[in-house]
């Protein structure tokens, strides 16, 4: 691995405030991204650091490479069409970077 690849201060792929789409996929296995946000759009609340990938670790693999973890905030009305509550109500979900893609502002 080159020095660049192991550099501790890589730029974050997503910044707080970025709009992101969650992958609408159904891979087999124990996945951490709940079904209720798959295919939905949210906003990065914060970056949480890098962690061994639990979706690999759980099956006896090394969990490498580490994955960046984000908290993504969703509007409840975007998740549940029949949601009863204020428009300001939100749900924050921990999502690994490989589930996220950028959207234009």
């Amino acid at each position: 691995m080159s020095a660049t690849e192991t550099a501790p201060f890589q730029p974050l792929a997503f910044q707080p405030g970025d709009r992101v789409a969650i992958a609408r996929v159904n891979p087999p296995g124990h996945r951490r991204t709940p079904f209720y946000v798959r295919g939905k759009i949210g906003v990065i609340e914060r970056a949480c650091g890098e962690f061994l990938n639990p979706e690999e670790l759980g099956y006896g693999f090394t969990g490498q490479p580490r994955r960046r973890l984000y908290r993504v905030r969703f509007r409840q009305h975007d998740i549940w069409p029949a949601y009863r509550g204020s428009t300001g109500d939100t749900i924050d979900v921990d999502i690994y970077e490989h589930w996220l893609s950028h959207l234009p502002d």
Partner: protein
């Protein structure tokens, strides 16, 4: 076996059995058997001892919500500590002898405008070092499914009615973070000592299904 839980136990179940009493004599389930087999192997190989396991369980059982309450009371009275708690939860609670291990503590602050509540829809992730073992309702599929989709209704069932102009923010703890709600300090507690403040900070208020009540003491 509890009365409302009379289904056949021969299926390979992995659900919680909050109604099962310690003296339950029904056959162990598949996961319980796997756990016992693993335990026996680890002991046989000298990696663990029965004494170590017992001490681990004893330590786990000794953790109580009073640890979290002390942290909240400090945050209410010491702005510098509160800032640290919100920025780096692990470092802040280590001052109270709480070791979060691999997990990253994320403290979410409830204010006049935001009410926070915690769930783990996958399993039962919970800040055990601060609150002890989670209550049965927190682990129930019913709570986990409903708090994300109809939080206001579930909160009202706990006796916690959130005004329409206060945003309800649910936190689904799915990965390597553990959440703790820093409740809003209630009015009428001005001048209280840290110890007295801690006495009104309940487990449920740190999960977010309740709010601290100064009249509770």
């Amino acid at each position: 076996m509890s009365g409302n839980h009379d289904h056949d136990h021969s299926h390979g179940h992995d659900h919680d059995h909050p109604g099962v009493k310690p003296e339950d004599t029904s056959a162990p389930g598949r996961y319980e058997l796997m756990t016992l087999a693993m335990q026996e192997l680890l002991i046989e190989k000298g990696i663990l001892t029965p004494e170590k396991i017992r001490r681990g369980i004893e330590a786990l059982d000794s953790w109580q919500p009073s640890r979290g309450a002390a942290v909240v009371a400090r945050a209410w009275t010491d702005p510098a500590f509160k800032a640290e708690l919100l920025a780096d939860g692990n470092a802040a609670v280590s001052r109270f002898g709480v070791d979060m291990g691999e997990a990253k503590l994320t403290v979410v602050e409830s204010t006049s405008n935001v009410h926070n509540v915690i769930v783990c829809t996958l399993c039962s992730c919970y800040p055990r070092g601060l609150l002890g073992l989670p209550p049965d309702w927190y682990r129930s599929k019913r709570y986990r499914a409903r708090i994300v989709s109809e939080p206001r209704k579930v909160l009202a069932e706990f006796g916690t009615v959130i005004a329409d102009d206060v945003a309800v923010r649910v936190h689904d703890s799915l990965a390597d973070l553990r959440y703790l709600v820093l409740p809003k300090r209630p009015a009428g507690t001005e001048g209280w000592s840290e110890e007295k403040l801690a006495s009104i900070v309940t487990r449920d208020s740190m999960v977010g299904v309740a709010v601290p009540m100064p009249s509770a003491t």
